[in-house]
Amino acid sequence: MHVPGEVKEMSEKARDKKALYGTDVDLKSYESKAEAHQEVATPEELPSDVKKAALDVGVSLDKESSGAYVQMDQSPVIAESMYEGVEVMDIATALEKYDWLQDYWWKLVAPDADKYTADVAQSPPAGYFLRAKAGAKTVFPIKSCLYLGSTNLNQRVHNVIIAEEGSELHVITGCTTPAHVQRGLHIGVSEFFIKKNAKVSFTMIHSWGQEVEVRPRTGIVMEEGSSLSNNYILLRPVKTIQTFPTCSLNGKGAVASFNTVIYSTMGNIDVGSNVFLNAPDTSAESISRVVSVGGDVIARGRMTGKVPGARAHLECVGLLLSDKGRIYSIPELDGQSRDLDMSHEAAVGRISEEELEYLMTRGLTSDEATSVIVRGFLDVEIKGLPEELKQEIKNITQKEDLNGA
């Protein structure tokens, strides 16, 4: 267990430790102090540009939620539960309230993993604490928005999600910058604890600016009989993103599904998931769909099977629509036991001429047909989500202007 002093010491040593993947970010070129923002009583009182930005990433802070969390720069401005069985707090308040939270704090992500985790460990905690109490089942999601509203800011977030035994929790998080923010850095540490027979869906929609760099660091642990549907959507330009969440299926029969949808126009996008199947009858699936009209996308997927009977499947499929883009697909399977069932498929290609022509004979222009095919390609059938949330996520990909090169 890391006591706070230990976290500080570990992170101190990792201040300049480069990450294994992704381009290196000069932390010193960003401001670490942010102006404080006032708390508001209800989502309606949020500044209109925040509300608009939240909506833009599919986060409508309305009645159809079981909770809401909004953070502007480093300030939590709203943290509200709308359902008895779930707790929504800003993490600093939660750490003060619950001593036991120290047993979860920095347990799945190491403070000295790299300079980014170290940087978060060195700064005052800001982020959300979400907890579904034992047996509490929610249908509506907790909606959260992490809003980076100041140019040149290094926004640091540390989130903890706990789904207690037998609970059901859905979370949708939109991370976004308004158009006027030219440059910024977002580092997000997230630790998810999914306990026995709990069911969690976590959907993250990113919408950044052309000069924004993003380094999420996520650790997930799953107990017996639990399930996770983890979904990541990036459709707007970004300078660089690198993330490689680690998920350990430690309990018998745990099931995890990762879906990644990326439409790349520029930048360096390095994303994937790193899954360990540590218990019997566990299964994991990772599906990534990438469309590139520009920029470098590195789509990773790594599955490690450690016990007999574990099942894993990876699918990395890319459509490369321009010479200006690159899709580098890296599916990795690491079998460390007998009786495993692990597979992957990877493909990088172009839009089929036959499909394009077929739609054109129905009267669609070449551009319209391309857009329809791209949308369809990115429409991943996401498992483990309530119908309403499925539709909301679908709407996000539908409203975007997704064209060919």
Binding site: S352, E354, E355, E357, Y358, L359, M360, T361, R362, G363, L364, T365, S366, E368, A369, V372, I373, R375, G376, F377, L378, D379
Partner: protein, 246 residues
């Protein structure tokens, strides 16, 4: 009769290889024609060339539709001008639901009614043609054409792989598309159908038929008469019949 489609001395090649040779064809407004011929004689090629698929290069001659020269026109422009086609083996489109495609093709189309008409409601939320059986693909094509409402409908073996019950359904849909329910003088929609077996012709009305042999249209006449001749003497009979004339 107003001429809707006219093909004049059409020569087409694919990658330098000649696939159509001196094709001449006229289809009047309100008429539905059948196109017969053995495999590999250019029937599908002719329909694809009329539709304007890019691989089909017109070397000589021209295609005229509603009085316009469409020989160099793009596929989508031809579709907007009123040409529609049911493919023999269309591709599947992942992530595009049939009901959404109906709306894209024609925002005003009554998708519910069309799907019901083709007994295809259960496929509304399926990806277009994905995992469809041979017969289901044909009904999917008819659904799309009923939404598109083309003035000139081209059907490439809409009956192959289809059971009898659905052949009737498809035949009736073709009659709807070509306005066979209205009196002849009121019809202005036309069509052309490729069929090998002719069963479907029992369920739809055709006005004229053509036989293609050796990359060209060699014979035209009454559909029943021609079909009977083919059934009796095979396409060899057609060859023999054509010999003195050519």
């Amino acid at each position: 009769m107003v001429r809707l489609l006219e093909i004049r001395n059409l020569y087409v090649s694919i990658g330098g290889k000649q696939v159509l040779k001196d094709v001449n064809l006229r289809i009047g407004s309100g008429e539905t024609h059948a196109l017969f011929g053995p495999n590999g004689t250019g029937k599908t090629t002719l329909l694809n060339a009329i539709m304007g698929l890019p691989r089909y290069e017109v070397d000589r001659g021209g295609i005229f539709f509603k009085g316009q020269d469409i020989t160099r026109m793009s596929m989508d422009q031809r579709a907007k001008l009123g040409i529609g086609m049911a493919f023999q083996r269309p591709p599947a489109i992942r992530g595009l639901k049939l009901k959404d495609l109906i709306k894209i093709i024609n925002p005003k189309a009554d998708g519910v009614r069309i799907l019901k008409q083709m007994d295809f409601e259960n496929f509304a939320n399926r990806d277009v043609n994905r995992g469809f059986s041979g017969g289901e693909v044909k009904r999917s094509e008819m659904v799309q054409l009923l939404a598109q409402q083309p003035d000139f409908t081209m059907l490439d073996e809409p009956d192959s792989g289809v059971d009898l019950e659905n052949i009737k359904l498809i035949g009736e849909a073709i009659d709807v598309l070509t306005q066979k329910g209205t009196r002849p003088s009121a019809r202005n929609k036309s069509g052309i159908i490729i069929t090998h077996f002719g069963h479907i012709l029992d369920y739809m009305k055709t006005d004229r038929a053509h036989v293609m042999l050796g990359r060209s249209v060699v014979c035209s006449g009454d559909p029943k008469e021609i079909l009977e001749q083919i059934k009796a003497n095979g396409y060899e009979g057609c060859v023999a019949c054509m010999c003195p004339a050519k």
